[in-house]
């Protein structure tokens, strides 16, 4: 009999593969970036630049036209000119604007309270640095991406938290008490799982008005996603509890007179923990993709707020997509985040308990 994953991991320390560690690093960067969006983004998410719609990503130069080393700078550009059906921007030869670290820019409030004007980087006016180009309103895509990460990435964590509470409650009760509680709980999870996820999400979304203030839409999105995804977690928890209930150490605890609550809290649930960490990690992408889908379909986060899903909406126009491929940048961000979670989940799974987790995975 192998020892439960939690004990093993605690005894030997977590040994993650290199790939998993790299992915954990990538995710840490993404989440830190999202948390410090005000500081990291050179411009506010809703700052319009009417002269520069669909501006391509700004190249950052080190040498000027004469070949002299100047330190990083960008060229300021004139208003766009239509040529061959797409907007083109020409750099002003004299418009050299240095790019500096830690510059003063648009004011904001750190964590909503400490006022500051400091940004990680920025170009001296009139130059503007658009790392990922601009969208159809001339808003900086990089800034929007960073602010959108707040929405898109946090949905994953908050959603997982909610559905874990639900899943542990229902699954734990079903596994421990059995009988009609179990039957009822498992039938409900089956019902939820027999509706294709996105259809169920949209059906639940249909209960509420289409246009709502964005904070409410955010909450609604999280709650809806949690309501849809808790079912599979509840089944997983139930299975764990069922198999742990008959383990020798649980029987031993019962033999020395421990009550059901003590057994659940001290013996059963701690041993499901490592498994739950893995399950949580691999289920985060579902929430991220759920938010992306809702916002992409236009019933999630609304303009002018940014989320990765609603940023991708402009790519729906094929001529934009063809002429200005940088509108796909949020897609790359989603891909990176989802892949990092997948690899990390896989690595955690291997590190914690290769055998048992592999059995339960689908």
């Amino acid at each position: 009999m192998s020892a439960p994953g939690g004990e093993r991991a605690a005894g030997r320390g977590l040994r993650l593969s290199l790939v998993a560690r790299v992915c954990a690093g990538v995710l840490a960067v993404l989440y830190l970036g999202a948390a410090g969006a005000d500081f990291l983004a050179p411009y506010p998410y809703d700052a319009l630049d009417a002269d520069h719609p669909f501006h391509p990503p700004t190249p950052i130069h080190l040498r000027d036209a004469a070949g002299r080393l100047r330190g990083p700078f960008v060229y300021a550009t004139d208003t766009g000119r239509l040529s061959g059906g797409r907007l083109e921007y020409r750099p002003r030869p004299a418009g050299r604007c240095p790019v500096r670290l830690l510059v003063r820019g648009e004011p904001y409030r750190w964590l909503g309270c400490v006022p500051s004007r400091l940004h990680l980087f920025g170009a001296e006016p009139p130059g503007r640095v658009y790392l990922l180009g601009t969208d159809q309103f001339g808003r900086d895509q990089f800034s929007r991406l960073v602010f959108g990460a707040r929405v898109s990435l946090s949905v994953g964590l908050v959603g997982v938290l909610i559905s874990f509470l639900l899943g542990m409650l229902v699954g734990g009760a079903a596994g421990y008490f059995g009988g009609w509680v179990d039957t009822l709980a498992m039938r409900s999870t089956e019902v939820i799982m027999s509706v294709p996820a996105l259809y169920l999400i949209l059906a639940l979304r249909a209960v509420f008005p289409i246009t709502l203030p964005s904070p409410q839409v955010y909450l609604l999105t999280v709650v809806i996603l949690a309501c849809v995804y808790w079912a599979s977690l509840a089944r997983v928890v139930r299975g764990m509890v069922l198999s742990l209930r008959t383990r020798e150490y649980v029987l031993a605890a019962r033999a020395v007179g421990a009550g059901p609550l003590r057994i659940l809290a001290r013996h059963v649930l701690p041993n499901t923990f490592s498994f739950l960490v893995v399950a949580a990690t691999v289920s985060v992408p579902g929430y991220i993709l759920g938010e992306v889908a809702l916002s992409y379909l236009g019933v999630g986060i609304q303009e002018p707020y940014a989320s990765w899903g609603n940023m991708l909406r402009q790519a729906q126009n094929v001529s934009y997509l063809q002429s200005y491929p940088w509108v796909l940048a949020p897609g790359v961000a989603i891909f990176v985040a989802v892949m990092a979670f997948n690899f990390l989940g896989d690595g955690l799974r291997d590190a914690l308990d290769p055998r048992r987790v592999a059995e339960a995975r689908r």
Binding site: P196, L202, V207, A293, Y296, G309, R362
Partner: protein, 324 residues
């Protein structure tokens, strides 16, 4: 054998009841009923609304309403009335369901057609560069969101001009003979099918590889080798057969992913399927259409699971023996 099938069929009853109850409750949680919208429409006479009220029993208490809803849905395939299209919901959804079915079918052809050979290949060539390349493809395929993939494929179509940009048929397809029309449809189908099929392909491939790796160490495989069978016969005739069984159960489950995936692909690539209809209906607050499509798709999913169960019974003699 018969008892297994009967058991599975009986299992469907609480599921379908549950799903219909869910959609019914969701519909009632939404503010107003669809008659409100019709009342605002001067083209609809008050008598027609009154007739509709009694027909759907909207003047009755909730449990009775649910019963009549059940009766309408399951006995008459009557999912209500679409006030945006002024037609019964089922008529509105039927064509979309057919189109989605075509797309999902093509997607699963991509998924299964590629995943099994690639899975076998990477298990047989375990830990070589072939295996690693396949695993990499699988990981990318699992992580790339359908929306993004569909947009990339659209970009590809727009840049190369090799494939039509979205849609299901060319404008002039009605004037073509049926053979050319089928080709036209296939031409439109390639990219959406790829977009829908890639993610399930990746997960099936990983599954196939893992199963086959497990099976390749089994004693009967060693026996087959010891008999002097060529390696290809050992793998294809002895190992693969057993490695396939767990995949059959996944067949039904993967339908859910296919339907969800094709929802997004339909919207991005302009495929006139159920997903697009549902989205339009949601935006127009055509609730009965939304709920109708939820019911229809979960019906498809439940039937798919049933089919998978039955296939497994056919494929695996152990299950037949268990229930006999």
């Amino acid at each position: 054998m018969r008892t297994v099938i009967l058991k599975r069929l009986l299992h469907l009853v609480p599921l379908l009841l549950g799903v219909s109850l869910l959609t019914f409750l969701v519909m009632h949680a939404a503010p107003g009923d669809y008659l409100d919208t019709m009342r605002a429409d001067p083209a609809v006479s008050p008598e027609a609304i009154e007739a509709m009220r009694t027909r759907f029993g909207l003047d009755q208490p909730l449990p009775l309403q649910y019963l009549s809803y059940l009766k309408n849905v399951f006995l008459r395939l009557d999912f209500g009335y679409s006030f945006a299209y002024h037609r019964p919901v089922f008529e509105v959804l039927a064509q979309g369901l057919l189109n989605t079915f075509v797309l999902a079918l093509a997607g699963s052809c991509v998924a299964w057609g590629l995943s099994i050979p690639l899975g076998i290949l990477s298990a047989v060539r375990h830990n070589t560069w072939v295996d690693r390349a396949c695993s990499f493809v699988a990981f990318v395929g699992l992580s790339v969101p359908e929306v993004f993939l569909a947009l990339l494929l659209l970009l590809f179509a727009a840049r190369t001009g090799w494939f039509p940009i979205g849609g299901m048929r060319s404008l002039d397809s009605d004037s073509l003979g049926w053979g050319r029309r089928a080709l036209d449809l296939l031409h439109h189908l390639v990219l959406p099918a790829l977009a829908v099929g890639l993610a399930p392909m990746a997960s099936r491939m990983r599954q196939m590889r893992a199963n086959l790796l497990d099976v390749l160490h089994a004693e009967y495989v060693t026996t087959a080798r010891a008999k002097g069978l060529p390696e290809s016969a050992v793998v294809l005739r002895h190992a693969v057969r057993n490695a396939l069984n767990p995949l059959i159960t996944l067949f039904g489950y993967s339908l859910g992913f296919l339907l969800t995936g094709s929802f997004l692909v339909e919207v991005v690539m302009g495929w006139p399927g159920l997903g697009r209809l549902t989205l339009t209906a949601l935006l127009q607050r055509d609730l009965y259409v939304v709920m109708g499509s939820v019911l229809l798709t979960s019906g498809v999913l439940v039937l798919g699971n049933l089919a998978a169960d039955l296939l497994l019974v056919l494929a695996d003699p152990r299950i037949r023996a268990e229930s006999a």
